[in-house]
Amino acid sequence: MIELLATRYAYLLMFVLLGVGLYMTIASQNLVKKLIGVNLFQTAIFLFFVAVAYVEVDGEPGGSPVVPATENPASSDLILASPLPHVIVLTAIVVGIALTAVGLALIVRIYSEYGTLREDTLREVRADE
């Protein structure tokens, strides 16, 4: 268990963040906080991809590491970073920004129409109409 925590902490953190993000998205009544929850959910996935990028190669460092190859203290193998997941994370961040922008624009419009950001109040206002 300790060993798992020491070596795989990034994956555990990812699942914690996924859970927090999803819980916020579902449970929070505030629309902006919901959107922050979605962002947290996506950030967890970026962390996952960055964690996946570390690959161990026996002996020679192959490919083109973004982070210089260092020796793994546990097995004396070389650790290096695959560049592909980093490119994926960069693209996914851009996509995430676009979505956040559209989401916030919609929230601004909802606020100007109904005068509230809370989902429960919104439901009441809409039921009255």
Binding site: L18, I45, L84, A98, L99, G103, I107, R126
Partner: protein, 519 residues
């Protein structure tokens, strides 16, 4: 590189680049959006037709006839490929054809404005990219482009309800696409590749821990797409989005967005993972079939109790896509062909039905099932076309709805899956229940005295109930709009005779899916 190989890239890049033109021109000129979009869409349709003649003109296996474009000259498996094979070309034809038809409707039916047409082109480009991409991460990017386009188009409705529906769709849709991305991450961990064909070669050789990773990837990808395809109970974004989107947008979104997502799911299930992987994974096939079957029953039941026609048709989509997903899970050739035919047929029928709903809202002021009373007497052509499309949706021959359901039913019996066979029968009954309600109103209930002077009362009533979402002032029903609906209805009947042709065209793809395994 020959000119044909450039075509897949052009089909994706051109609409996305030209999406900026309506906004740019809009700074100076007011109403250029429609012309730019029309020119682009006609070009895209012509390009797709040419691509189809090349792909279906060739002979050989799926890989041999496919037109492949390697983006930037980077070869697979490192680079990203755009692939137009026998299946994706057919979906691309559906996308460009429907986009053209719906565009003709928006000329008068609205919504207008240059930003709307920018969103329209962005959505069409994203859909074509999602159709032709050969890379699983690239698929995520196109999934999000399609999402962004749909959120923007849905929120272009006038009332505030449209914004709420779009935000709901945005949050649920983004979580769905993100869950798919987690699946891609697991798949990358297991195989170290993102190219679909490379993955298809690697996945069957996986063992031990990597096989477990691939199974986790499969689970995440399926759940992610279950949200995008609107499977019960993950469908909750869809009825709101369809109902509150403007009348000119609903046909496009209902006919294409979920359809192309369902196509992408088929691509992942049968090209990337392969039937053998699904069959060897415990309960995978059973879970897919169960999710689909539950959606069929839940979607149809919810459709029966709706009063708003658009909402009713939205729940009907949940159930029809349930049928398609259940057919994927059967893992037989006949069921797969049936699912793909039903995918295309459902897209066509829903496009026609939602355009008809738009015409009726403009010309007759009716939006609820009750307000459709006496429609056949006043608007015989729209009512007639709508009746034909509704009957095709039930699956009464000759119609495309019939051949899709027929092949799925035959596939279910071949696979000895009595659950699906029973669900198809039940779904036909339930579809008939909500279709018959509408037909009875249109043809056999006279417009009551209370509702005389229909246009006025209905418009006022609608403004109250619906927040005035899509009451487009100053619009009228044109001959062109009627012609589109009648054409779609005729096509839905005509394609009912084309079952063998579909089978022949899709054969190379179905063979490459290699379904000769007993589940």
């Amino acid at each position: 590189m020959s000119s044909v190989e450039l075509l897949p890239a052009l089909l994706v890049v051109v609409p996305i680049l030209l999406a900026t033109v309506p906004i740019a021109l809009g700074l100076r000129y007011d109403r250029t959006g429609w012309s730019v979009t029309l020119a682009t869409t006609v070009g895209l349709f012509a390009g797709t037709v040419y691509l189809a003649t090349v792909v279906y003109g060739g002979s050989g296996t799926n890989q041999e006839v496919a037109v492949i474009h390697e983006l930037g000259g980077f070869t697979a498996p490192m680079g990203i490929e755009l692939v137009a094979d026998t299946l994706s070309t057919m979906i691309a034809l559906l996308v460009t054809g429907t986009a053209l038809g719906v565009l003709a409707f928006t000329r008068v039916g609205g919504p207008r404005g240059n930003t709307f047409y920018s969103g329209y082109l962005l959505l069409v480009g994203g859909l074509l990219g999602l159709t032709m991409t050969g890379d699983v991460f690239n698929m995520f990017v196109f999934l999000e482009i399609v999402g962004l386009g749909s959120y923007a188009l849905i929120s272009s409705g006038r009332g505030p309800e449209a914004a709420v529906a779009a935000l709901k769709y945005l949050i649920i849709g983004t979580v769905g696409a993100s869950i798919y991305l987690i699946g891609v991450g697991f798949l990358f961990m297991a195989t170290g590749s993102l190219n679909m064909l490379d993955l298809a070669a690697t996945v069957p050789t996986l063992e031990g821990q990597n096989l477990q990773l691939a199974r986790a990837a499969f689970a995440f990808i399926f759940v992610g797409f279950a949200i995008k395809v609107a499977q019960w109970p993950l469908h909750s974004w869809q009825p709101d989005a369809y109902q509150h989107a403007p009348d000119g947008v609903t046909p496009l979104i209902a006919a294409l967005v979920s359809t192309v997502s369902a196509y992408a799911l088929a691509r992942l299930l049968f090209t990337v993972f392969g039937a053998e992987f699904i069959a060897s994974t415990p309960y995978a096939s059973e879970i897919i079939v169960t999710v689909g079957a539950v959606s069929v029953v839940a979607g149809s039941t919810l459709a029966v109790i709706q009063t708003d026609v658009k909402r009713m048709l939205a729940y009907s989509s949940v159930s029809q896509f349930g049928l398609i997903v259940a057919a994927y899970g059967l893992l037989t050739e006949t069921a797969l062909v049936g699912a793909l035919i039903h995918l295309i047929g459902h897209g066509l029928m829903k496009a026609g039905l939602f355009i008809a709903v738009g015409i009726i809202a403009i010309g007759y002021g009716a939006r609820t099932v009750d307000a459709y009373a006496g429609l056949a007497g006043e608007r015989p052509f729209v009512a007639g076309s709508m009746a034909v499309l509704l009957i095709a949706l039930v699956g009464i021959p000759p119609s495309i709805g019939f051949i899709g359901k027929w092949y799925i039913a035959v596939g279910a019996i071949e696979a000895q899956s009595w659950l699906v066979a029973g669900v198809i029968f039940l779904s036909t009954m339930l579809t008939l229940a909500y279709v018959a309600r509408l037909l009875e109103r249109m043809y056999f209930t006279p417009a009551s005295a209370l509702e005389a002077g229909h246009e006025d009362t209905a418009t006022v009533g609608h403004a109250v109930t619906d927040g005035g979402t899509a009451t487009v002032r100053g619009t009228r029903v044109t001959i062109g709009m009627l012609a589109i609906v009648i054409f779609v209805a005729a096509l839905a009947v005509f394609l009912g005779f084309a079952g063998d042709a579909f089978f022949a065209l899709l054969e190379p793809f179905v063979e490459s899916a290699d379904l000769e395994v007993s589940p």
